[in-house]
Symmetry: C2
Subunit: 361 residues, 2 copies
């Protein structure tokens, strides 16, 4: 049999495209019907269901046979779902701006491009806009070594009743930055956030073994320092380079190519289980010896995997500590229920921040 010609192949693609388009619009029609059914049972219906989206995306990845890879197809479905949802309800999502930052990227990655993304200047503004109902959801960074703002997010939760309803991971690159007048062979000191220095350790050991490494409060702070120092370099992202007019001497010097930063989605509703979930809580403990041990023991006993523990001094100032804890599982899981019950015994105070689907793409 003869190989098909370019024209024949393109005609086949056109035929497939017709079918694809028909199916997309049929899907949108079904999504409209879903919205009608929801509206009929509940006038105050919520159209966006994080757990349902996570399930759809997981199915897409699991059943994928290629040649497109699972993550790519899931990303395409994210956009299709985003477009279908926008027909029912043009969702407003606030994020820590300005436009073009990693948090903006995270918002679009999570919600697709069919939402209205609203840029706000501070993390507590994002919380306020979600609380007031001016926007449905908010996106804020957490575990972000690059911008050093994680603490603002954690602090905002102390005063808020909002729930975490999703998480987003983004790949982040670090660069070696120099001031305009600095020569690479004159560098005696490198500034960056401690976490970033750790993330670039191998590169630094290989290329700048004798240069002193100085940890500062954020990568942006590191970049700012170069203004007055002619024999120093900084490790930071591209935005910091632009903001402070620095040269990028070496791109992507992070040791792991999959270096990521985590963002969370905040909203006003609880999210039902999706089957693969995480839970975040805030636990306040008296500052006594072994406090951390007592917090962590119930997780060990009930075989619940911790994914992160972060401690912060409590703002009420009465010698207590606050722990932010992320772990595997949903509040509705029996094991998780037992852990939470055990923590109630140990803690001065415990606040449930949300159970939400683990990031799919």
């Amino acid at each position: 049999m003869a190989e098909p010609t370019l024209e024949q192949l393109r005609a086949q693609i056109d035929g497939l495209d017709d079918q694809l388009q028909t199916l997309m619009n049929q899907r949108a029609t079904l999504a409209q019907k879903v919205a009608e059914v929801k509206q009929a049972t509940d006038g105050d219906a919520v159209f966006y269901r994080p757990e349902r989206e996570a399930q759809v995306l997981r199915r897409v990845k699991e059943r994928n046979t290629g040649p497109l890879d699972g993550e790519t197809v899931a990303r395409l479905f994210r956009e299709i779902m985003s477009a279908c949802l926008a027909l029912e309800q043009r969702m407003k999502v606030a994020f820590l701006g300005p436009e073009g930052t990693f948090t903006h990227q995270a918002a679009l990655k999570h919600f697709g491009h069919a939402v209205e993304a609203v840029s706000l200047g501070a993390i507590d503004e994002v919380f306020r806009e979600v609380e007031s109902g001016a926007v449905q959801y908010g996106v804020v960074p957490v575990e972000n070594s690059t911008e050093g703002v994680v603490n603002h997010t954690l602090d905002s939760f102390m005063d808020s009743s909002l729930k975490i309803c999703g998480e987003v991971d983004l790949r982040i690159h670090h660069h070696l930055l120099l001031g305009e007048h600095t020569q690479e062979n004159r560098i005696t000191r490198i500034y960056s956030h401690q976490q970033t220095l750790a993330q670039c350790r191998k590169w630094l050991d290989a290329h700048m073994p004798t240069v002193e490494r100085v940890a500062v409060s954020s990568n942006a702070q590191a970049a700012r320092r170069l203004k007055d120092e002619w024999n120093a370099a900084a490790i930071a992202g591209e935005m910091a380079a632009e903001l402070y007019g620095l040269k990028i001497m070496h791109h992507n010097i992070e040791d792991r190519p999959d270096n990521t930063t985590r963002f969370i989605i905040i909203g006003r509703q609880d999210t039902p289980p999706s089957g693969q979930d995480k839970t975040s809580i805030l636990v306040r403990m008296k500052n006594r010896p072994g406090a951390l041990y007592h917090v962590l023991k119930p997780f060990k006993e009930h075989s619940v995997d911790l994914t992160r523990v972060e401690s912060r001094p409590s703002r009420s100032g009465n010698w207590s500590y606050v722990f932010f804890i992320d772990f595997e599982g949903h509040r509705d899981d029996d094991r998780v229920g037992r852990v939470l019950a055990a923590l109630e015994q140990e803690a001065m105070d415990i606040r449930f921040l949300g159970s939400y689907p683990r990031a799919v793409i």
Copy 2:
């Protein structure tokens, strides 16, 4: 017949999603075959065909019946094509950075999210990287009132043999910005680029009729000025607000909600006709009375619609002028051929910058 339940509708959606996913992967397989056929006939084959993509997207928009709107579906197809193309060739596209600027957005809007987008610091660097073959395509702004850089793009063409192979339009918003200590009722002067002032005229007439309007070289320049002036405001975009630490007093004050900025795609190949094309040329004329008239006459005579004319002093300094001209049609069209032949008679020099598909989405 009873209305379907939520579960039934979701099962139907899952069924559609299975079909969608199968079709996407079939499309990717056909795209791989297209690449094989191309490779067999030409070892140096170009996989990305701007005219073919434009035709596919136009068909999608024309045949669309909803409920998703034509532009939304075209955007989804852009991403599907981008993902299919990435299987053959992971394209590298350079853009005027940093990441997150409008030019970055334009690059992703045109090429989809499956390309590798490379941020560069200057327009002539983008030209150089495309010329050297380090990247396949470049994206640079043109007609960009917000950043005032259009001239760098036009100047770069004077020294380059690159071709324009596409255009992108992006919606742009303008905001009224104030310095930290400025009160709105104290404003006596508003700075911005002339074009931006014009784009916000109605809003200014309605809300600040008595305030003096001062045109400066760029919106960024306008924002920078507020540092030292306590009774002035600027009109600029969100990035300028962030960069110079200004308050956004009023959002989106542009008169037309469809206010756009134009970007062009530069590459090394000529683009065949797509059926709805534009052409850009550069014409050098002696600086004599009526030069512009002589340039424009052939267009009128052959009924070819001009979409833009921009004049610049020639850099060779011999009292000549350079006109950048955009018009409807493709170089292969008879009428366009006749216009170009007529211009050859009039001009000292004429350079063809490219024929390319008109922006579809």
